[in-house]
């Protein structure tokens, strides 16, 4: 009875104070020009990737031997062997496929891998870190020791090993990369969990008879959200990089599907005769990575007021 009464009182107080942490953070984020520009670039690339089939008359895997490695019509220079003509805005690749549509399909793969692997790392890292931090003592020591061990390896090697084991299955790529990227997340969440473990509201939950896992899920995790959000925005570009890195080495996604890493690798193979095949995928990739970097910086400034 009294609990219900307190809740309404709290609601009223909330209405009066008006601005929550998140409203505040959003305002600060939107005031950050670099972050807003980053978000605009990202939304544009994501929309283009989603609606890719509508943006170009070509299919991503339709081969056309009459326009092999042709430059876009507006490409300068006299060394170009042929111009692609038609709607090949960014030229064509070594088997006459349209580069523009392939970049957008590459964006699909890269962004999908980025988001999916980040979700895997989020789930793993947050639950692992929260449990370790909340349990404390021996279990904490043991669990974090395991993280330290994995940390001592350059993670791209782990990703490659996992790719080899999973036989380069595309869906398992997500899992493989996410399964490696959760380590930092776990460390961050553990540290924050320890710092709130002895706070009154946790004790109150325990006193009220809330189970351990329910306490972690309902009271610990919501209170470590902001560093997690910041780190998430840094994880996505990391994952995109890792996927491209692995694909570049020829260990990632397979034809006719493509990703930015594959496109850059193919572009590098024939950069003498067809530099646009290297330049455009690199530009898309660099723009995306910069955008994520700016958003990450903006989020950190917005969510972590003590830093300013």
């Amino acid at each position: 009875m009294s609990a219900a009464f307190d809740d309404t009182a709290l609601d009223v107080a909330f209405d009066v104070s008006g601005r929550s942490l998140w409203v505040d953070a959003r305002r600060r984020l939107l005031a950050n020009k670099a972050a807003v520009a980053g978000m605009a670039v990202l939304v544009a690339i994501a929309l283009a990737a989603i609606f890719a089939p509508l943006l170009s008359p070509y299919a991503y895997d339709s081969i056309d031997y009459s326009v092999i490695s042709c430059a876009p019509d507006w490409w300068p220079g006299h060394t170009v062997l042929c111009h692609a003509g038609g709607a090949h805005w960014l030229g064509t690749d070594a088997v006459g496929r349209d580069l523009f549509i392939r970049i957008l399909y590459g964006a699909r793969v890269s962004l999908a891998v980025g988001v999916a692997a980040t979700i895997v790392s989020l789930v793993l890292g947050v639950s692992y870190g929260a449990i370790a931090g909340f349990a404390g003592r021996r279990l904490d020591g043991l669990m974090m020791r395991f993280v330290d061990v994995l940390y001592s390896l350059p993670y791209i090697f782990l990703v490659i090993v996992l790719m080899v084991i999973f036989n380069r299955n595309f869906y398992l790529t997500f899992v493989a990369i996410g399964a490696v990227e959760w380590l930092t997340m776990a460390r961050i969440v553990r540290g924050d969990t320890i710092s709130i473990r002895h706070r009154e509201f946790i004790e109150a939950a325990r006193a009220a008879g809330v189970g351990r896992f329910a306490t972690i899920g309902r009271h610990v995790v919501p209170n470590v959200v902001s560093p997690v959000v910041v780190y998430m925005s840094l994880t996505i570009p990391n994952v995109i990089l890792a996927e491209s890195f692995v694909s570049f080495l020829g260990l990632g996604i397979q034809e006719p599907l493509t990703s930015w890493g594959v496109l850059i690798s193919q572009g590098a193979d024939q950069m003498e005769s067809a530099p646009w095949l290297l330049v455009f995928p690199s530009l898309f990739m660099a723009a995306t990575l910069f955008a994520f970097n700016f958003i990450g910086d903006g989020l950190r400034d917005a969510l972590d007021p003590k830093d300013r």
């Binding site: 490659i160 090993v161 020829g250």
Partner: protein, 315 residues
């Protein structure tokens, strides 16, 4: 001090053992055997092959056999490259990779520290902004983009300055000739250079505000001496703990660089091993690199304790 070092050393051994154990069993779980070919081998031959690689023994026996070899620096035979042991492949790639990596590290340190100090001394001025934008770009643009682009500009198009042809070879190692090293070493060093510049700038800015620097200036010492003798050593301290991650970054970068420039180092063996599913080679390289990173972190820890008495006495 010695106790501290020994404690750290003994702490590293179980770490390495855990990595060896995990990677060994993970590799054994992986699908496919050493000689998966298109056509099926007759069962007798398959049995003989398995026996030759001890694959017919129980798993735990294989594991202890592997550990036993490991103690003698024997990482087993390569599954793909016939008549070569993994240890021999690593030994052949090591001098090349080491030359590449150490040169890149030296380049990254010299320019990273230089840029960082200049940026800190010219804080919020043009030089600072130039260094910081370079650093942001260096961190955001991956090696597999810079490598082909630099090759295109300096190798393929070629650069002429005052009539001198500055074109560089685009690939091959040529036993580590200087001209062959310039491009790969630069590409490998760029990201680390960027991170080091950022790190040094940050700590230098902080150090320049401390009291001992103010004291040194108040004594009337020339500014260059204050910066080089008083501020710089203190500002370089955080760099020591970045040593481990820096080399880890170089190892990662070497995979791409050795592949693009066709350099016969460990990284190329690793990638080819991974593509060809040469499990023992991949396993061997992972363990070798893990040991290298662990030892490096150990050295960094000890070095840090030597350089900064506060760390030593806090324990």
């Amino acid at each position: 001090m010695l106790g501290f070092a020994l404690r750290r050393l003994f702490g590293a051994i179980p770490t390495l053992l855990i990595i060896v154990t995990i990677s060994f069993f993970v590799m054994r779980v992986a699908p496919g055997g050493p000689f998966d070919t298109q056509r099926r081998l007759p069962p007798e031959i398959e049995r003989n092959v398995a026996a030759a690689y001890h694959l017919d023994r129980p798993l735990y026996e294989q594991y202890f056999h592997y550990l036993d070899g490991l103690v003698h620096f024997d990482l087993g035979p390569s599954y793909r490259i016939k008549d070569f042991s993994v240890s021999r492949l690593i030994a052949e790639g090591l001098p090349v990779s080491a030359q590449l990596g150490l040169s890149a590290m030296a380049l990254a340190l010299v320019f990273g520290i230089g840029f960082g100090v200049v940026a800190a001394l010219r804080q919020n001025r043009a030089a600072d902004y130039a260094v910081m934008s370079f650093a942001t770009a260096g961190i955001a643009i991956p090696t597999f983009v810079t490598a082909p682009v630099l090759t295109l500009v300096f190798g393929v198009w070629g650069v002429r300055l005052f009539g001198v042809d500055l074109s560089l070879p685009v690939g091959g190692w040529n036993n580590g000739a200087l001209a062959n090293m310039i491009l790969p070493v630069t590409v490998l060093a760029l990201p680390e250079m960027a991170i080091i510049a950022r790190l040094v700038r940050g700590s230098m800015v902080e150090v320049l505000r401390t009291n001992f620097v103010r004291t040194a200036r108040a004594k009337g010492l020339p500014y260059s001496r204050v910066v080089l003798r008083h501020a710089l050593p203190a500002a370089l301290l955080p760099l020591v703990s970045y040593l481990g991650p820096a080399f880890a970054g170089l190892l990662t970068g070497s995979l791409v660089v050795e592949r693009i420039f066709g350099i016969p180092g460990i990284g190329r063996y690793f990638v080819e091993g991974a593509i060809g599913r040469d499990y023992t080679l991949v396993l061997g390289v992972v363990i070798f690199y893990a040991a290298f990173i662990i030892i490096l972190n150990l050295v960094a820890d000890i070095l840090y304790a030597v350089l900064d008495p506060r760390v030593r006495f806090a324990r």
